[in-house]
Point group: C2
Chain length 108, copies 2
């Protein structure tokens, strides 16, 4: 799968978008993420795996726990793609793109 496809695919599911929003409040273990949803832990874990494939989160092993952290830079492909519609909105989108690129340059 191509890179932006992994990103868009990851964002296509409402549970995964909700997980990302939760992670804005801080990193969580798999179990902690799972507590917030009405589904089993393995199901949540699969969602986290897809988010990791899309580079939207990072996972760090810490003892027996796995710490899931938001990786906002992973949203860049979406911004990039939206930027192809610049002409329809003026150039604020490309300003945004530049800003994101600048701020995420040395983070992975």
């Amino acid at each position: 799968m191509t890179d932006p496809q992994r990103t868009f695919r990851a964002l296509a599911d409402p549970t995964r978008r909700a997980i990302l929003n939760r992670l804005t409040r801080g990193p969580l273990t798999i179990g902690e993420v799972a507590e917030g949803f009405d589904m089993t832990r393995p199901a949540v874990k699969k969602h986290l795996a897809i988010l990791a494939e899309g580079a939207l989160i990072t996972v760090e092993a810490q003892g027996r726990a796995r710490i899931n952290r938001l990786r906002p830079a992973g949203l860049a492909p979406v911004i990039d793609w939206l930027a192809t519609f610049d002409a329809f909105w003026d150039d604020r989108l490309s300003d945004l793109k530049t800003a994101i690129e600048k701020e995420t340059r040395n983070d992975d």
Copy 2:
């Protein structure tokens, strides 16, 4: 299905994103869109239906043809959602959001 979900779902498929990009160059009939892809016309038509459900295109009947037009305002739910990550990027994203809202206010 909730509104933003229809949008994200529509954008999840690479063919549909490619269709949107093509439509930035001007409106096309279903047949014309289909010419650009290595799949049957009914398949393309299904993609167009999903894009229309996501309010990313408008379809206008013109005689026996259907004119498909890009509707950039349909991308607003994505911008809105991205804006919830403002804190990670400073407030350029919300500036963008405001700009989009202003420019698309009277277009649907």
